[in-house]
Symmetry: C2
Subunit: 230 residues, 2 copies
């Protein structure tokens, strides 16, 4: 896996085309044209369309999840022996995501659109890649939420994490719908503005789940690995 310049160029082009057209709608020829290379060269470097797609995802996911985990570790160390505050945990989870969506140098919106489709997709490829790249960080943050909010059960912590991600990803992708519906009032093009609105929303929601324990859901966190959802 030599860090080739050609590889990076192809990955950037693939990221954009996959984001705009989806996996099936993106053609190797369109990717090659945007990258300024020949189509068979992509096969030389990445073998197949599937492997190219997986590498596009892996590159950004490794970046963003590395940031999230090291920031979470730093947060936990700083607060030790107490648990970090909920606002800090949620901010640490969301900030790298929102920032990546606003940083053109790292794919910007393109990867954002990709990862939204990935996280919400039900096809085998999306489910597999999502679990492969995002389950570890999910478990870490779910545990952090539980430590900071002892009243919340495991199931509600999982729900809260998924709700937080569900809110953050579309903002990362920025479809412009908020601006359209508010006649420009909610044009959230600034990272800090987005965090200032989403973090209080999510934290208040999580505390509501903790204060209002819902269905009869026991708390047990022994098994960590699991194959599939029944």
């Amino acid at each position: 896996m030599a860090t080739n310049q050609t590889r990076a160029t192809i990955l950037d082009a693939a990221e954009t085309v996959f984001a705009e057209a989806g996996f099936a709608g993106a053609s190797m020829r369109a990717i090659a044209q945007r990258a300024g290379v020949n189509q068979p060269l992509i096969h030389y470097h990445f073998e197949s369309k599937d492997r190219l797609y997986a590498e596009v995802i892996h590159r950004r996911a490794a970046d963003i999840n590395g940031q999230r985990l090291s920031a979470l570790d730093a947060l936990i160390d700083r607060a030790a022996p107490a648990a970090p505050g909920l606002e800090d945990i949620v901010t640490t989870l969301l900030r790298p995501t929102i920032e990546l969506g606003h940083d053109p140098a790292r794919g910007g919106q393109h990867y954002a659109n990709l990862v939204v489709a990935l996280g919400n997709g039900t096809d085998e490829r999306s489910v597999r890649l999502t679990a492969e790249h995002y389950n570890e960080v999910a478990r870490r943050f779910i545990a952090a939420i539980q430590s900071s909010l002892p009243g919340v059960g495991r199931a509600d912590a999982v729900r809260g994490y998924l709700y937080a991600i569900s809110i953050a990803l579309p903002q990362m992708a920025r479809t412009g719908r908020a601006a359209a519906l508010s006649d420009g009032l909610a044009d959230d093009s600034d990272v800090e503005t987005i965090l200032a609105r989403t973090v209080p929303f999510i934290c208040a929601g999580l505390r509501a789940l903790a204060d209002e324990p819902g269905a009869t859901l026991p708390i047990q966190d022994n098994k960590l690995e699991r194959e599939e959802a029944g």
Copy 2:
């Protein structure tokens, strides 16, 4: 627009295949095979792949939005001259969505996956169809949220609406990720369980936005250093 049985059969098959493979990944032949008809018949009834896709969306959107608007009207009438409660408004918004996602007779998960991709997509087709079918109901519910929560500004009401939809749609689509991450604890296959968790979360979040109206209040205390060597 004769209510033909063949048309409905094709629409059902198209809904499933589009949901499983996306617009580009779904082939007219695969749709025809699932519908038990031959491929040119689809062109006879729907002209083109684009029009077929639009009709698949239109059929369910008209159903679900009709339910939502009439339920909202009834809610407003019942509470008049006061404004309806926030929990009732959010429940009225989400229930038809969640229920549709759990009703196999009306497409069930299939339309759910479709509409998730539609709402999050940035391609021209997705943006156009989303605005065409969902902007009216969005404006109605945003106004209702503002009437019930006078402290919330217009921009935050829009945000709250979009956050609510962002939370509800993935649950409608049920990727099984919640169950996988919680070892089955959060297997939300029941409509009432989902509503009992999402509605309090969303309402608490909305009230937090209303109580903390500063749209320009960046959270600075744990801003991450993203510069690598800077």
